[in-house]
């Protein structure tokens, strides 16, 4: 457990102020931008990928 915690801690150092993007009057954290980008990617994948279930009568 401690090893996993140390590994994850090495990947993402959270013991410091977060990164922010400033664009005119808009201020947003990098973490929120990443989440929004992930949602857009998953949304596009949801539209394009088949569900693995064929439509039609009795299928």
């Amino acid at each position: 457990m401690a090893a996993i915690t140390m590994f994850l801690g090495a990947l993402v150092n959270l013991t410091k102020p977060g990164h922010y993007i400033h664009w005119h009057f808009i201020t947003i954290s990098v973490a929120n931008v990443v989440v929004i980008a992930l949602m857009v990617i998953v949304f596009i994948a949801a539209l394009l990928l088949p569900t693995g279930h064929k439509g039609g009568n009795g299928s």
């Binding site: 989440v35 992930l38 949801a46 569900t51």
Partner: protein
């Protein structure tokens, strides 16, 4: 048994004596059975166009909401010292947070998909509206949760949020610096709203059926359209 038909739905209702036919219990029972027949509430088949990830994300939102309610219930049983200091408490606290993150993640993708499908077509306005209002009430539930953590994070968020509330003119009635009020909103009023609206949303989906693809002939009830087995 008597068969009645309403908007394509066929339901069977029990016959009752004349003297009790006017009772409100009989009227409500007949109304509900006509509106919500069991075969439509828990259907065997659905239209082929339901085979879409957008509906799967709707179901995932409900699954995440279930995790939110269960983990929140454990937090309510044990209290702040437990969720701040014990290993299991910290785990359940994190489970609560990440269930909420996933709830919003799934719900927003479902919402985007339904927006671009124009899912309010075919007299499905209430289905769309209950979904949107559920999202808005969930935002309130999340905010009151952030200010109910009982830590420096919640103090920071509440002192920032109070300016927003005051700019809207509601700070005197919805005081984010009032911990007791925020906790009550978070664990009582808003969860009732989210769960009730979600239930209503699902009922609307069941009674109105899912929206047809744009350009396809509308708007037969779900069981009359080309069907695929529900899964």
């Amino acid at each position: 048994m008597t068969t009645i038909e309403e908007k394509g739905a066929v339901a069977e209702v029990d016959e009752v004596d004349e003297e009790v036919a006017g009772q409100w219990t009989v009227k409500i029972r007949r109304f509900l059975v006509a509106k919500l027949p069991p075969e439509r509430l828990i259907p065997d088949r659905q239209p082929a166009y339901m085979a879409s990830w957008i509906y799967i994300f709707g179901a995932l939102s409900i699954a995440a909401l279930t995790c939110v309610i269960l983990s929140g219930s454990l937090l309510a049983i044990e209290g702040p010292a437990w969720w701040h200091l014990s290993g299991l408490g910290l785990f359940v606290n994190s489970l609560h947070l990440w269930s909420v993150e996933l709830f919003f993640f799934f719900m927003v993708i479902h919402l985007w998909g339904k927006f671009f499908m124009a899912a309010w077509r075919g007299n499905r306005q209430l289905t769309w509206i209950t979904g949107v209002v559920t999202f808005l009430v969930s935002v309130g539930a999340a905010l009151t949760g952030y200010v109910s953590q009982t830590n420096f994070d919640s103090q920071w968020i509440s002192t920032q949020a109070k300016d927003g509330m005051n700019s809207l003119g509601i700070g005197a009635y919805f005081n984010v610096l009032n911990f007791g009020q925020m906790l009550m909103w978070h664990i009582y009023l808003l969860p009732i709203g989210v769960v009730a609206l979600t239930g209503l949303h699902v009922l609307m989906v069941r009674t109105k059926g899912i929206v047809t693809p744009i350009g396809a002939p509308d708007d037969a009830p779900a069981e009359d359209a080309t069907t695929a087995e529900a899964h």
